[in-house]
């Protein structure tokens, strides 16, 4: 009981782990929110970005949305299983969630390879050679936003794998929820990236 007390902050009645992950999530909101805000303003400033956005694959973006929404569901099911201390179900649901992360990355790499093969890169030299620096700027934003988000997907998968390995031994089951909260944050960012980059063409 004493040990448990030392892990929570009595004045605000929240376990330190949850407070820590919320602090991290709020920080991530600021990073992605700032980038997304700048993207929206540049999009308003340069309506011709719509010509570049037409090259992104709505099908792959939609598939990735389905994958992330579903994996968010499987993560909360793992959390529910952790509350029941059902180690088999935790393993099952977290494995499905990690698989979802892999599927997302496979889809993303297919999309990236198509775009890069068409000459759209972080700096898009072909567009710049044609004098289309505005179009090139779109792809800089696109690769920055989706690349940073992809890096967060990888971190989320590592965190879930870590939680899974510990949960299989029956240890630190609360980390199932904490890694899951990070995964939901990854899903939350994609909810805004999908309409911005794939729908508003």
């Amino acid at each position: 009981m004493e040990n448990q007390k030392s892990l929570s902050l009595p004045s605000i009645k929240i376990p330190q782990g949850r407070l820590g992950i919320w602090t991290l999530i709020v920080g991530e909101f600021m990073i992605f929110g700032g980038l997304i805000g700048c993207y929206i303003l540049y999009r308003l400033r340069y309506p011709e970005w719509a010509d570049q956005a037409a090259h992104t694959s709505t099908l792959i973006g939609a598939l990735n949305t389905i994958v992330l929404l579903t994996s968010s569901f499987t993560v909360v099911k793992a959390h529910e299983a952790a509350n029941r201390k059902d180690l088999k179900k935790i393993t099952l649901w977290l494995s499905v969630s990690i698989l979802g992360g892999f599927l997302f990355l496979i889809n993303k790499s297919i999309e990236y390879s198509t775009e890069i093969s068409h000459g759209f890169t972080f700096s898009s030299p072909a567009l710049q050679a044609d004098g289309d620096t505005i179009g090139s700027l779109f792809w800089s934003f696109y690769f920055l936003l989706t690349g940073l988000h992809g890096a967060h997907v990888i971190v989320g998968m590592i965190l879930m794998l870590w939680a899974l390995l510990q949960a299989r031994k029956g240890k630190n089951l609360h980390r199932v929820e904490l890694s899951g909260m990070y995964w939901h944050m990854v899903d939350l960012i994609w909810i805004f990236l999908f309409p911005l980059l794939y729908l508003a063409k």
């Binding site: 892990l7 700032g34 529910e80």
Partner: protein
């Protein structure tokens, strides 16, 4: 050093997930709602985009985000301090957006040379 950490890890009693302080909403219902709004935004996105359709798409995205943050991330069960933190971040982002708005959109000076 490592062995000390392991020992400490084993001695410390972490909050028990079984006695977690928050409940669990109907996650399947939330997932179905998320898919329904996603399908709606996909459908609207296939129409000719006007400012109204774009507004509807982003309103849908915002509502989906609220569903995820309140139910999957369990914000609805969190103490006021967490709500204050999240709302402060949202306020800062809105202030940032309108703060840089004239710098990017309302200036005749091109940030990127045409």
């Amino acid at each position: 050093m490592d062995s000390q950490h392991v020992a400490q890890d084993e001695n410390v009693k972490f909050p028990d997930p079984a006695t977690d302080y928050h409940g669990h909403p109907n996650y399947l219902k939330i997932l179905i709602l998320l898919f329904a709004f996603f399908a709606a935004s996909l459908l609207i996105g296939n129409f000719t985009l006007t400012s109204i359709t774009v507004a509807v798409i982003f309103a849908t995205a915002f509502y989906k985000a609220v569903l995820v943050i309140k139910n999957f991330m369990h914000l609805r069960y969190e103490p006021i301090i967490v709500w204050i933190g999240v709302l402060a971040a949202v306020f800062c982002l809105i202030a940032f957006f309108f703060g840089i708005y004239p710098d990017i959109t309302a200036t005749h000076l091109d940030v990127v040379p045409r």
